[in-house]
């Protein structure tokens, strides 16, 4: 029941209003560089494949992964024959997923982050609980900075949950030694998609 007393103390103690600064000078519209994005994702420990068609995904996965028993693909076109019926449950049904292939709405060149929401992945825990994560993002959807991301692409909340994912999960808590694969996905693959003319 402290709400009123906290609010009263704040009102009494807060300094005078100062205007919010303008953020427009930080914008770099239409300058998102897929090559720069790729380089940052790689420095974060991810791997990037440039593809011209979704049909290229399957052979790349066969080449680069071993021991995949359960694969979830958000779109059938990513990987025909992937697991079905995976959406039903509280998320724990995904404990044994080896690889999830999901779409990303856009990427950010300055930090390698990809924006993913509940609308696409359907089950929130999927990109985290899967052992390995692959994200398909269109090369035309690479933005330059986080300011462009928030002001152009996620102006209004459009989903109950959204996340920027930049690289595989990692930790350096033991003597600052970088180890990939903390609690989330152990690896990240990005399929950077430019449709063939």
């Amino acid at each position: 029941m402290s709400r009123e007393s906290i609010l009263a103390a704040i009102k009494n103690n807060q300094p005078d209003h100062q205007a919010l600064p303008d953020l427009h000078t930080f914008r770099r519209p239409n300058t998102g560089d897929p090559a720069a994005f790729k380089k940052v994702v790689e420095t974060l420990g991810g791997q990037v494949f440039e593809i011209g068609s979704y049909t290229e995904i399957q052979p790349l996965i066969a080449e680069h992964y071993t021991d995949l028993n359960k694969v979830v693909a958000i779109q059938d076109s990513y990987l025909p024959g992937a697991a079905t019926q995976w959406e039903t449950g509280d998320g724990r049904q995904l404990e044994d997923v080896d690889l999830a292939i999901i779409p990303g709405q856009f990427g950010v060149a300055e930090n390698g982050a990809i924006w993913i929401t509940e609308n696409e992945v359907k089950v929130r825990v999927l990109p985290f609980i899967t052992q390995h994560l692959a994200v398909v993002v269109a090369a035309k959807d690479i933005l330059a900075t986080m300011h462009d991301a928030y002001e152009e692409r996620i102006v209004r909340p459009e989903s109950g949950f959204g996340v920027f994912i930049a690289g595989p999960s990692k930790t350096a808590d033991i003597e600052q030694s970088l180890v990939l694969g903390a609690h989330g996905a152990k690896s990240l693959t990005v399929f950077l998609y430019t449709p063939k003319p």
Binding site: S2, R3, S5, I6, L7, A9, I10, K11, N12, N13, Q14, P15, D16, Q18, A19, L20, P21, L23, T25, F26, V40, L44, D90, G91, N111, A113, R124, V125, F128, I129, M146, H147, A149, Y150, E151, V155, P157, S159, G160, F161, G162, V163, F164, I165, A166, P168, S169, K170, T171, A172, D173, I174, E175, Q176, S177, V179, G181, A182, H183, G184
Partner: protein, 458 residues
Amino acid sequence: MEHQHKEHALLAEDFNANEPRVNWHDETLWWIRQKRDKIAWSIPEWEELRETASRIKHNVLGNLHDYLLEFERKAQENGAIVHWAANADEHNKIVLQLLQEQGVKRMVKSKSMLTEECHLNPYLAEHGIEVVDTDLGERIVQLAKEPPSHIVLPCIHKKKEEIGELFHEHLGTPAGNADPKFLTAAARQHLRKEFIQSRVAITGVNFAVAETGEMVVCTNEGNADMGAHLADVHIACMGIEKIIPQRKHLGVFLRLLARSATGQPITTYSSHFRSPKAGQQLHIVLVDNGRSRQLGREDFRNSLKCIRCGACMNTCPVYRRSGGHSYHNAIAGPIGAILAPNLDMKEYADLPFASTLCGSCSNVCPVKIDIHQQLYKWRQVITQEGHAKKTKAAGMHAMNIVLSKPGLYKTAGGVGRWVMRTFPAVVNNGMNPWFKQREMPAPPKQSFADWYKKNRPE
């Protein structure tokens, strides 16, 4: 003065007993500071970003009342349940009640310095509920029954061999294995079981957006997401100063946070929690615990701008060489030393003195808090309130007498130089705190005043 613990200088002395270890600690943190510099300097507009972040936070402080109401309204529209806690005790009671309603005896928590500040874990343990910390570093210090020594790098004071031993004892890993990759994999397996079993998850909050009622939580490990998305009940605990006005302001803060903290361009995960998933309860606990009082202290209110990146610790020559535990507070380092006296001025009277006032903390702070100036101001407040150490007060009093009388100053200097030359043991001994971990310099033959008289240009 009755303290429950030793003060900073004495705790730092314990830490300094092992010189190679202090050097290692010092170098590790300085390496992180260098990574921060490298990535910060790669962004031409870095200084403008810091200035902008500082001004956004200033706007927040001036409108906190209205922003909190806006955040509460939006969060409720999103389906969250909002609680208000005046202090640590009320926060802990709210969380306990939520856990008792669910009937859980064990649950997962991702890193939250607020719950450390409130001492939530021991409180819940007293009531028969076990908290499993899931950030790897926090889990390590939890197994070691220690508090975190750094807000971003909780076990930065631990060697991998010690961690190997802890894991051998608690997780059954082979004795003598101290390979970070192996130990991390063991922790992953152990904590996956906890995530799967846990019906309640507690997380901290990095930023809460008034405009949308959403909360952003940043981790590299993915532990906050593993916990929150699998749980039936998500409890998010946040200090009231975590509010930012609009979603677009996240662009500024997410650019600054990880770069300042560890020299990364962004954390692996920046999760935006707006509404609970279908069938889930989302509780948000807004905690004051002295923040509204700090807001009223004109000289110190800027400390509430802090985004908990830890850059001030990594750069601080005193933190690097004294270790986080010597600050005997949930938040160590320069920022901890200006936040703690607001919570209890007597208990933390020593902390603002644990600084050289070099100003490096203020120079790296991403929201431009005037940390070293606040440390200096706290010293004055603490001394005026009578909480300064008696020896320090007596020393300052003697200095005041000597420095304000030129004749006395001249005589005292001459006597001092003669004593140091003739009987060096008088100063080079353990009674002189300046002699600890140091060699005293050779005393000069003449005073500066004498030298100047001889050498000044005609």
